[in-house]
Amino acid sequence: MSESAVPFVASTLAVPPPSSGIGWLDEARRENLAAFGEAGLPDTRVEAWKYTALRALSQRSFIHGDAQAATRDIDPEAFALPGLDGPRLVFVNGVFRGDLSDLSALPAGLALRPLSQALAQDAEPLRFALARRYKERGDAFAQLNAAQAVDGVVLRVAADAKIDVPVRLVFVGVAADAELAWHLRNVIELGEGAELTLVEQHVGSGNARQLGTLVADVVLRDGARLQHIVAQDASADATLVHRHALQLGARAQALLHVLELGGALVRHDLQADLVGNGARLDTRGVFVPRGRQHIDTQLAIRHQALNTTSDSTWRGVADGRARGVFRGAILVAPGADGSDARLNNKNLLLSGSAEIDTKPELEIYADEVQAAHGATVGQLDERALFYLRSRGIPLAEARTLLTAAFCRAVLDDLPNATLREHLASLLAIRLPV
């Protein structure tokens, strides 16, 4: 069967990519779409998709873009984070919603607006990010995103600006009549010495059997500091493919916390290039697939400069017939001497039918490198369970207590206490009992 006969691909190619009137952008869209049409969706023979089969997805047809997104009724409670006031951009089914957003009183040094507005005003600064052609075999969704995304977030923090309120990006998925696909493209840049806390939320309302793709470029110039939280709690029927590509300049520091809780099929590519000397990246994450959920995280960190540091702690908990996938690939490139790379992924299977595939990979081509990586898959400790029960804690409660404790390391070092509490309670609600 040729790729264009696959329903997913055929429905995507049926309509031309949206036109922006900007020559270089429309050309990039056309070429990325053509590349997608040629290769189609990757199968499990492609290494990056080895544990995530797209067969069922490929049989579905999607309408790209939701014409009614601007008027859909949304309850702001769905994404409320009490105690965290600050600028907020809200998208519903991939469409910017000014009525739900808050762009009043932006702190000095912060430029924040939807991509559609930024393109209309001055597209040129976005050219480097948006003119990109994706060519890797596993890049199908990035190609699709590059071809179809007409909106997203453009966020810039001026050099040395320290933004002291968290900025929130909220992505809401709601049910539509047809099977809907939406695409968002985020371009984020912190100038030299800038500081920012960024909170990304994915929430779902109703049975949103839809596909969302999100591609984000995050650039940290020298000495910039970013705290980035991704709380993914999409609706139970949603397919979400999101990708963050980070680039860290000299002495830049990024601290990421990722919660992967919702969605039917979720793929997260988290790529970081440490290109400046002394850059530091810390990632913390937990994925909790239940029922028949499938959550795939692909972490790729490339140390490309002297004395760069990465430290990654990830936890997976799978229940029911769920599947978790974690790949943690660390590369210490030639010349990245004195680098320190640590990765640890521990996983817990709460049911005999659940599965987690974890694959730490470490490649070192530099000198005087410190590196440690490890991954485990196990069950709840029977001795600990008995210890708790012997003190009077009922079995179900004991299991919950131990499962929550297993995930705790992931949130421990989140500096913002309010945010930490929010995420902890979100996690507690979603943890299997």
Partner: protein
């Protein structure tokens, strides 16, 4: 309070307890001594309901109830407490939180009102004073990184907070130096009362210098072969367990 009759139990298909009988009345302290492999720890584990121990014959009645039919948490709520020989480390679970959860779970099971965190903290402070345990241990994860002595003291501290009716101390003296042994014993002695009974399981007589028992039983090959008062422990210390074999007939002794 506790009546064990002709108890037989197997672990991994191997019979460890072979007809153990013992009666404990309220307020009594019974020491169970015996050589390695006699079944001392098995007794504690069977009484507290650990998985993997199969009772093949006999009965255990606790305050008129069939203890063996209860889940471990129900036994705890009914007032049975096991101080572990090897307390388990539980990373990520705060010691205070753990203890409050246990405390309230027991109260809930008994139909009593639960304590909020402030009320519970007050209770903990009072008990800490009695047990001479540093506040700092309460902020750490359960037993994580605790020294051997700290773990054992934490067991006794939990006992002080949970206030069981029947406390089983499984080789609480093992791995303790003399100072830690004294501290732990003082903690136990502070909890002795006319309503609370103790089963003190130990290999060595040493512990019984500090926790003076009302009765001493010798457990050998899965049965109690000798019972007496505290002087029996001294005889054992003097002559060793081998002395028993020559000394007399094994008997299903009753206290």
């Amino acid at each position: 309070m506790l009546k064990i009759e002709n108890l037989h139990a197997r672990v991994e298909g191997k019979e460890i307890l072979k007809g153990l009988s013992l009666t404990v009345n309220p307020g009594e302290v019974h020491a169970i001594m015996g050589p390695n492999g006699a079944g001392k720890s098995t007794l504690g584990n069977v009484l507290s309901g650990r998985d993997g121990y199969e009772v093949t014959a006999g009965s255990v009645t606790y305050n008129g109830v069939d203890l063996l039919a209860l889940e471990p948490e129900a036994r705890a709520a009914a007032g049975v407490f096991l101080a572990f020989q090897y307390p388990v480390e539980i990373p990520g679970v705060n010691n205070t939180y753990f203890l409050r959860t246990a405390f309230n779970a027991q109260r809930k099971a008994r139909g009593e009102t639960e304590l909020d965190s402030m009320q519970f903290l007050k209770l903990v402070r009072e008990k800490l004073k009695v047990m001479q345990i540093s506040d700092e241990l309460m902020h750490r994860a359960v037993n994580e990184g605790f020294s051997g002595g700290e773990k054992k003291r934490n067991e006794i501290f939990q006992m002080a907070v949970l206030e069981p009716k029947l406390a089983i101390l499984d080789e609480t003296d093992s791995g303790l130096d003399i100072d830690a042994l004294k501290q732990v014993s003082e903690g136990v002695n502070a909890l002795r009362s006319p309503e609370r009974s103790f089963l003190v399981v130990t290999h060595y007589q040493r512990l019984l210098d500090y926790i003076v028992p009302d009765f001493v039983h010798v457990l050998a090959d899965g049965r109690i072969v000798e019972s007496g008062d505290k002087t029996l422990a001294h005889k054992l210390e003097e002559h060793g367990y081998a002395w028993l074999a020559q000394h007399g007939e094994p008997a299903g002794a009753q206290a």
